[in-house]
């Protein structure tokens, strides 16, 4: 998407988009809003790449013997699909795009606490991305995004080193973004913006940042050890030298399970904002929703062992991890109930962002509940490593995180671009994505229960019917994702100009013009009311 299209238009008012021109003004900017757009463009690029891999995979699986590519190629497709989507799209999606754009606006600050660090983190992300692209072009890697040893460290003869370096590097970008947000939320809040007046989006970004800061370094060190082992052929995880492959899995999942919450928590924050706005209601049980974000962030660190129930982990460790995994379900359930109750006696309108948010609730509920199957030891034994897992985490990551991301983009697009998109198209796209998503992934639950293992380049014929259904759904989903891409780019030039608060919504970001000026606020705002003061007379504050 090219922001250059805005350049020829001379606007009366200076804003962050027309404050300066030329590629230098973008590549050397320290403005959080411009960095957010840099991220938006780069993650969209990676989303398209990761998405095309997914489409190729689904086409390939239409026939049991595989319709399109060699098994080796198929293995590279799912590996790169996973790595690109997780590390280069989902993890930076809401935090680095919407978070970067909105956190300073929502706290009423001129910028993040460390603007140059923010730009640096984008560059680090790009370097990581380039390593990954290099790996893809130079032959790809075939380890799966999980990099399990000893396959990744010793046996695979693909470009594992480059892609592991890519992920290693991009981790630092994630760490710096999280650090920046935590410090900003602690130290840069406008006068009067107490913790319990903060929008829930800030709470969820704060919880996410905790995970990024505490978890990502462990991923870095485990990938570092993996690289040592692969490059120098020393034994850290290879059994031949006394290493234990399960140690790799422990350290890997210590980050990678909480990483799921890095994806879903910000989406929960977005959904809270949207639901409040389009039902014109304070979020039901605000404090409990806020604390449940933090609870998810903390509990999310204690459950990683449920990925390892069948790997030869001690059965007692399995028991503990199973119990802790169930605990994390509780705050998630509380959130769902509170969002639903927010609608009660509201004034609900069905604009596109709201459709995404409601879709999120439905799909996240499904994804969360199917997680119970995998936290329970006995059923996990059967379902682990099958398509049931694939379906479950796509319900969370695509049904949850991507729906939340798209909802957020639609909600704040007038603020970001200063333009409105065609609402009818947006509603249609939301519906198509919801339907296409369910068509793609619901059959995979059944496939998994029937026993089809994941990461199979070809499969016994008995699984064909469900695979064809899933592939058919994927085409619908693919179309659904293309529509917003088209009309959002279109709207940047041709969309009607957006006023400063089009929905209208509460929150400091709507009190400044669209698009905001470089310094965000003409003068530091003072907050006097709680978040979501939609009611006519001021509700009882905290």
């Amino acid at each position: 998407m090219s922001t250059a299209t805005l350049e020829p238009r001379v606007r009366a008012r200076k804003n962050y988009l027309n404050a300066d021109y030329g590629w230098r003004s973008w590549l050397f900017t320290v403005d959080h809003k411009r960095i957010a757009l840099l991220y938006l463009v780069s993650i969209t690029f990676f989303f398209v790449i990761g998405g095309s891999f997914a489409v190729l995979m689904r086409i390939h699986l239409v026939e049991p013997q595989g319709a399109l590519v060699q098994p080796e190629t198929y293995n590279k497709l799912f590996t790169l699909h996973g790595i690109v989507m997780i590390f280069f799209f989902l993890i930076p999606s809401i935090p680095a795009v919407l978070g970067n754009f909105l956190v300073p606006l929502m706290v009423g600050a001129r910028d993040l606490a460390f603007p140059r660090l923010n730009l640096l983190s984008w560059y680090i992300y790009v370097v990581g991305g380039l390593f990954t692209l290099y790996s893809a072009i130079a032959g790809g890697a075939d380890t799966g995004w999980t990099f399990y040893t000893p396959y990744s460290s010793t046996y695979s003869n693909t470009q594992v080193t480059a892609v592991a370096i890519g992920v290693f590097v991009s981790g630092f970008s994630s760490i710096l973004t999280g650090l920046n947000f935590i410090v900003t939320i602690h130290k840069m809040r406008a006068p009067g913006l107490t913790w319990f007046r903060m929008p829930l989006f800030l709470w969820s970004i704060y919880a996410t940042s905790i995970i990024q800061v505490l978890g990502t370094p462990v991923l870095a060190i485990v990938l570092f050890a993996l690289l040592l082992e692969r490059v120098f052929h020393v034994g850290i995880f290879t059994p031949a030298l006394g290493g234990d492959p399960l140690l790799f899995q422990h350290l890997f999942w210590f980050y990678s399970h909480p990483a799921v919450y890095i994806m879903i928590l910000p989406a929960m924050g977005v959904v809270s904002e949207i639901i409040a706005c389009f039902s014109r209601k304070r979020i039901f049980g605000y404090k409990i929703v806020a604390f449940s974000s933090v609870a998810i962030a903390v509990l999310g660190f204690l459950v990683w062992g449920h990925h390892m129930f069948v790997t030869g982990q001690s059965v007692y460790a399995g028991l503990i991890f199973s119990m802790l995994s169930f605990l994390v379900a509780i705050p998630s359930a509380i959130k769902v109930f509170n969002w639903t109750s927010t609608l009660y006696k509201g004034s609900i309108s069905y604009e596109a962002p709201m459709l995404y948010a409601l879709g999120f609730i439905g799909l996240f509920t499904m994804g969360g509940l199917t997680g119970l199957f995998l936290a329970a030891l006995a059923t996990d034994v059967h379902l682990n490593g099958t398509y049931f897992i694939v379906a479950h985490f796509h319900y969370i990551m695509v049904g949850g995180a991507v729906m939340g991301y798209l909802g957020g983009i639609h909600f704040w697009w007038p603020k970001i671009s200063g333009r409105k998109y065609p609402n009818g198209w947006a509603q249609l796209a939301a519906a198509i994505i919801f339907i296409g998503f369910n068509l793609t992934f619901f059959p995979q639950f059944m496939l998994g229960y029937l026993g089809m293992p994941r990461r199979y380049a070809f499969y016994p014929a008995e699984f064909q019917v469900l695979n064809v259904m899933s592939s058919a759904g994927a085409t619908v989903l693919g179309v659904g994702y293309l529509i917003p891409l088209v009309y959002l780019i279109w709207s940047m030039r041709y969309g009607p100009v957006a006023e400063s608060n089009p929905w209208p919504a509460t929150g400091l970001e709507w009190k400044t013009p669209s698009p905001p000026p470089t310094e965000n606020f003409a003068e530091t705002p003072v907050v006097t009311e709680e978040a979501y003061a939609y009611a006519p007379e001021e509700a009882a504050g905290d």
């Binding site: 300073p104 600050a109 001129r110 910028d111 993040l112 606490a113 460390f114 603007p115 760490i175 650090l179 920046n180 935590i182 410090v183 602690h186 130290k187 840069m188 800061v213 505490l214 978890g215 990502t216 370094p217 462990v218 870095a220 060190i221 485990v222 570092f224 050890a225 040592l228 120098f232 052929h233 020393v234 034994g235 850290i236 030298l241 006394g242 290493g243 234990d244 140690l247 350290l251 210590f254 310094e519 530091t524």
Partner: protein, 228 residues
């Protein structure tokens, strides 16, 4: 102009902050959070070390007997001394004393270099004893006798951890030295006077953290194998 206004227009004040005090607190919080990420970064390696040491107790004990405990202890003292000079230099910057700020920063750098030199001597010894995994792994004679009881393969793993942990620590030291150099250059120009000393404090905290890592590396790698 009141004093607060003077500080508010200090050249060191970044545009996103209201005043130097807010900037100072923000910088400090930022570096502390960064240090927490460092705790987790080294912590992953410490966790792996702890598990393998427990699994292959004898081999790791044998490996630790190869290390030179005197050099390790000397290096600990050197690093602790450098932490002292670093703390003193932060104090000097806080009171706006340019001369002593620069002096203590230089002292810290010298102590840091001594540490790295001693570390280099130790690495060199490892090459002479042929206990460098992959690059030069052929322990013989007395060295072999020390590590053989626990199994040579697992002793090699001990040395992988030795080099990975001390190597990462040394990289942090080198980065720290670079930051110190940058501080010295800025301090000489008199940047850190009049209440602006954030960078000195931030680098100081980083330096102390690197010191803490070593405080744990020393007993874990050198001492707990026992020398009796």
């Amino acid at each position: 102009m009141t004093e607060t206004e003077a500080r508010a227009h200090h050249p060191g004040l970044a545009h996103q902050f209201q005043d130097l005090e807010q900037q100072q607190e923000t910088d400090t919080l930022g570096i502390w959070i960064f240090l927490v990420t460092e705790i987790m970064f080294f912590g992953g390696l410490f966790a792996a070390y702890a598990i393998y040491r427990w699994l292959y107790f004898a081999a790791f004990e044998g490996g630790s007997h190869i290390l030179d405990i005197k050099l390790g202890a000397a290096n600990t003292m050197v690093l602790l001394a450098s932490s002292l000079t670093m703390a003193l230099s932060v104090r000097s910057a806080q009171t706006g004393n340019r001369r002593s700020t620069v002096m203590f920063l230089v002292a810290t750098m010298i102590l840091g270099s001594i540490f790295l030199v001693i570390k280099g001597v130790e690495y060199n010894q490892k090459f002479e004893e042929h206990v460098v995994p992959t690059l030069d792994w052929a322990p013989q004679g007395e060295t072999l006798a020390k590590i053989a009881p626990g199994g040579v393969g697992h002793a090699e793993m001990y040395f992988i951890f030795y080099f990975a942990m001390t190597g990462l620590h040394a990289i942090h030291m080198i980065i720290g030295m670079g930051l110190l150099l940058w501080l010295v250059l800025r301090a000489r120009k008199g940047t850190f006077t009049g209440g602006y000393f954030g960078p000195v404090e931030v680098v100081g905290l980083y330096w102390h953290f690197v010191d803490i890592v070593w405080i744990f590396l020393f007993p874990l790698l050198y001492l707990i194998g026992g020398r009796y």
